[in-house]
């Protein structure tokens, strides 16, 4: 992505902070903000300039259910449940067995469900969330590349690289939720590909997880898709299965 000239940057920062950018234009600025510190500083300055205007808004008491819902989200993490029994043949050592993975392909619901016990529990660092949905993203050669787990209730996604490193220089990996009924893919965020990563979901995305059919990684310009929809090749893809209940 080309660097912005100073005037364009100032104008984008002002219009973004004021809130007049919408759709792809707004998403594009949000992606630029991740990498462009000067733009971020200009947006911060505009936010501070405009914030006093909020003082003219008539306060309206929200219903108590809003706080109750917030309180549920911020509640102390539930204790991680004891690991379920792992079938003796399904040991983590299998991760290294190529034969085990050969022909694995797109995680079909049945196969992935059978693997959930293996995938979820032997994870070295127990996460403070309880996965409700799991997807294993595989590459073209059907090799598993990423383990994606979501806690729809907690509105968080954990992305754990199984192989591969970061995206090529000048590019970013972007994670998408594939949705039913021809709805466009929903961007979940950028994926580093080097270490396990937690991504917070907004409520819409968290709800979408429940009905999503799969997840995919596309290769995008650095900073992510400029349009809000996948623009680059889809590199890794997998079906989503319900992890428990």
């Amino acid at each position: 992505m080309r660097a912005l000239d100073a005037e364009t940057r100032s104008q984008l920062a002002a219009e973004y902070a004021l809130g007049t950018l919408r759709g792809p234009a707004r998403s594009r600025v949000e992606r630029l903000l991740e990498t462009d510190g000067t733009l971020r500083a200009e947006v911060d300055a505009w936010n501070a300039r405009l914030a006093p205007l909020a003082g003219a808004v008539k306060p309206v008491e929200p219903p108590a259910r809003v706080w109750l819902a917030v309180e549920r989200v911020i509640a102390p993490p539930r204790p991680v449940p004891a690991p379920v029994a792992v079938p003796p043949t399904r040991r983590p050592g299998l991760w290294q067995s190529l034969g085990f993975w050969r022909g694995f392909g797109l995680a079909t619901a049945g196969l992935a469900a059978a693997l959930v016990a293996v995938m979820v529990w032997p994870s070295p660092a127990p996460l403070p969330f309880q996965p409700t949905h799991v997807a294993i993203l595989a590459d073209e050669a059907k090799q598993p590349v990423l383990l994606v787990r979501a806690d729809a209730a907690l509105a968080e996604v954990s992305v754990e690289p199984l192989r591969r490193g970061p995206a090529p220089a000048g590019k970013s990996y972007e994670l998408w939720l594939l949705r039913a009924n021809n709805q466009p893919p929903l961007s979940i965020g950028l994926v580093q590909g080097t270490a396990t990563q937690l991504i917070a979901l907004d409520r819409f995305a968290a709800e979408s997880v429940r009905s999503a059919t799969g997840a995919a990684i596309s290769l995008e310009p650095q900073g992510g898709s400029p349009s809000g929809a996948p623009t680059g090749p889809v590199l890794f893809v997998g079906g989503i299965v319900t992890a428990q209940n």
């Binding site: 002002a14 219009e15 501070a48 300039r49 914030a51 205007l53 003082g55 309206v60 819902a69």
Partner: protein
């Protein structure tokens, strides 16, 4: 950069609550909610025009505030400025997912709008705790001021402002652009 709303008693009490929230202090977060939720809800209602969407946006906003309180940097602005920014961004994201034509058939919700007898655009000119921005808005042309405030309070796009004011989109764009440049010049010279 001073003169923000909500920062009562000189010190930035909300900023302190945010810093405590960043440390996981749930009581501080609850106090922050009590002190700011009505204002943020009013703002979300202005942008989203529907109570159910505004409630959803408010819940999302406070979830974000809780999770990202550690990113609040007192050097970059007051606590209220940070919280208001998150609430507006959340409301705008909610709006982007819910096209405005879904408003049709929701007369009941529209009736609950806090507009009518209460015009934030009028009040913006009389903000006692933010004289600076009121003064700088006064320096703008009427059309520039109206366009900027419609975008801020109702979350309109420039196209929607153009439709509302029955003006060409290009005209509105240049009002907004020039208005913002003048506003920046005025606010920055006043705080220098």
């Amino acid at each position: 950069m001073d003169g923000q709303t909500g920062a009562k008693g000189g010190a930035d009490a909300l900023g302190a609550l945010l810093q405590a929230t960043a440390g996981g202090d749930r009581q501080a977060f609850a106090r922050l909610y009590d002190q700011t939720a009505p204002q943020l809800f009013g703002m979300a209602l202005g942008i989203l025009k529907r109570r159910d969407w505004a409630e959803e946006a408010l819940q999302d906003a406070y979830t974000r505030i809780w999770r990202s309180a550690h990113r609040y940097d007192a050097a970059k602005g007051t606590g209220i400025s940070w919280v208001v920014t998150i609430a507006r961004n959340t409301a705008l994201s909610t709006l982007m997912r819910r096209p405005r034509d879904e408003f049709a058939g929701n007369a009941d919700d529209m009736a609950q709008m806090p507009s009518g007898d209460y015009d934030p655009m009028q009040r913006a000119m009389q903000l006692s705790d933010a004289r600076q921005i009121s003064g700088c808005l006064e320096e703008l042309d009427g059309d520039q001021k109206r366009s900027i405030l419609l975008i801020y309070y109702e979350g309109l796009t420039q196209k929607e402002v153009a439709d509302r004011l029955s003006k060409p989109i290009g005209t509105v764009k240049s009002w907004v652009r020039r208005g913002l440049i003048r506003l920046k010049g005025c606010l920055d010279s006043a705080s220098a």
